[in-house]
Structures are given as C-alpha cells and as structure tokens.
C-alpha cells in the first residue's frame, strides 16, 4: 500500500452528490439511429468516474507516475432518454459503498439545459498496482478522502435505479 502520493492533491469536493463533471455529446458518439450510441454513454460515464477519481487524487499523474491505475470491474446502465449530437451533459455522482480496494459508484446523466434524466450508471472501480497489474489497497491519502466523502454521501437516500437486476416483467 502506498502511504503517500508524490504530487499535490486537488482540493477535496465533498458535496453530495458530486456534481462537478460536465461534458458534450461528440459527433463521433452518434450512430445510425441519430442519437448517442449505447457504448458512448459508457464512455461518458467513464469520464465521470475519472472526475470522481481525480477528486480522490487519482488522475493522470497516478498512472503516468507508474504508481497505479483504476480498473472498472462491472457496470450497469439504464438508458432513460435519447441524447443528440452537441447535447450538454451534467453528471451527479454518489458514492454508494467503499472498501479497502474498491468503490461502488452511481452516476446520473442529465441533459444540462433541459434537465431531463438521460441515463444512469452503476460501476465498481478497483485500485490496481501499476507493476503487478493486480488489485491493491487504496493509497492512504485516497482512503482518507474516501472516508471524508463517505461522511456526506452516506446520508443520501439509495437511488431508485441502483441495484437493478435485469429481466422482463411478465406484466406490462
């Protein structure tokens, strides 16, 4: 486990949910149906996970410094409404759970101007040791930040769209 990180960490944002990430639907994210393709919702959400990790002190410098990486183990997406090219996106991220090596995140994507919910994404992200490419406990300063964040995020209600199991309801 790393006891420290050899760079200055950004000021910690403890707002719950975390609401710093913004993005725009790129032309190359649109498919033959004329809307953002399913895969690029995941890319957009992955960038929101990246914003969460930067807030924890795990940005590009963490990888470039050959200290570690973060890998997504599992993700669940609900596609709630279409997004078109150029649409502005706003994200809200809730920390649902954390342990020594992993976080369980819940993102909501909103159309930033019209306000509607476009999609949600639940993700499990794990810390990875750079050299061994295997799982490793969070660096100490990151674990401390996660606990600080948890103190505000644990007060949020569990999102209705979290914890879904897929299936066809027999009655519609």
């Amino acid at each position: 486990m790393l006891d420290s990180l050899p760079y200055e960490l950004p000021e910690l944002v403890t707002r719950a949910p975390l609401d710093t990430h913004r993005s725009t639907v790129l032309p190359e994210w649109v498919d033959w149906n004329g809307h953002m393709n399913v895969a690029f919702y995941v890319t957009a959400f992955d960038q929101a996970s990246g914003a969460f990790m930067r807030n924890m002190g795990l940005g590009r410098r963490y990888v470039d410094g050959k200290l570690g990486m973060t890998f997504v183990l599992e993700t669940h997406v609900t596609y709630d409404r279409e997004m078109k090219e150029g649409a502005p996106m706003r994200f809200a991220t809730q920390l649902l759970e954390r342990d020594a090596k992993k976080v369980h995140l819940f993102h909501e994507m909103f159309h930033a101007e019209q306000g509607y919910l476009a999609a949600t994404n639940e993700a499990i992200v794990m810390n990875i040791d750079y050299a061994s490419r295997r799982s490793a406990p969070w660096p100490v300063p990151v674990a401390e930040r996660l606990e600080t964040l948890w103190a505000t995020h644990c007060l949020l209600p569990k999102p209705a769209k979290a914890g879904r199991v897929m299936g066809l309801s027999k009655k519609q």
Partner: protein, 164 residues
Amino acid sequence: MIELDTGAPFDQHRAIVKPEWIDWNGHMNVGYYVVAFDQATDTLCQQFGCGFEYTRDKIGMTFVLEAHVTYDREVKEGDPLRITTQILDHDAKRLHYIHVMYHADEGYLAATNELMLMNIDYASRRSAPWPDFAMERIEKMTAAHARLPAPKQAGRLIGLPRKK
C-alpha cells in the same frame, strides 16, 4: 433475409481490438467493450431482419434499454475477439440476451454484456411490437437456446461484498 442460424449459443460475431479502442492503461477501454458488444448486437439483429437495412429503409430501429457489463480480463490492441450470444427471454417488444466475449486465440473469458433491447417504430420513435418476420425468427432462436444453462453472469446485482 439471411438464413437463420439456430446454433446454441449464436456464434458468428468476430472482431479485432482496434488501436483507437485502447486507453492510457494500455488496454481496451471500458466504453469500447460496449462498442464491440453493440456490433455483436448488430450481427444478432441481422438474423431477425432488424439490422442496418431495417433502419436505413425507415422500417424501425432497436434501442437498448439497459445493459450490464462484467469486465473479466484485459484485452490488448490487435487481439482477436469471439463473441457468442444467448437469448434469455423475449416478449412482444423486447429481447433479453447476453453476449460473452472471449479472446479468440487464447480462449479466455474477457467480458460479458447482458442487454435489454426494444423494438422501435421508425416514424414515432416509440416502442412497437416486433414485426412478424422478426418475431418468428426470435421465437425459433429462443427455442434453440432454451436448453442452454443461464450463464452465471446473467441477472447479477452490482455491489461490494459485505464480508471479505
């Protein structure tokens, strides 16, 4: 329409990990696993007559409602992928299925993607029953896949285990 393949699981889709699918961690990025899986969905939908031509000819579209991905092992640039598909369930408008991605040469499991797909009317952009030609084929493939056991990655609930 092409001849219906009732092999179980459906095992036609192949792909190669493209250079632009790689991220700064040196492996296929999480979003591009879903690109690869979505292309496997296109291969599947062609079986039902609901592929590219279905949309190009303004008959209908298929929208994904929900997706669950497990990332089981890394794949690198140039790796050959084999994606198999198992139909789990369907109703008048929807299809529930799971893709399983393997490294085509080494054989290991790389990822799975469980999906709920819905048929969409082109003009209204709203849900609509599968056309008869598609439903007939969906039922045949569902029957062919019925004998397969449900993959353990299907029906998963995301979470962190309470005790380690």
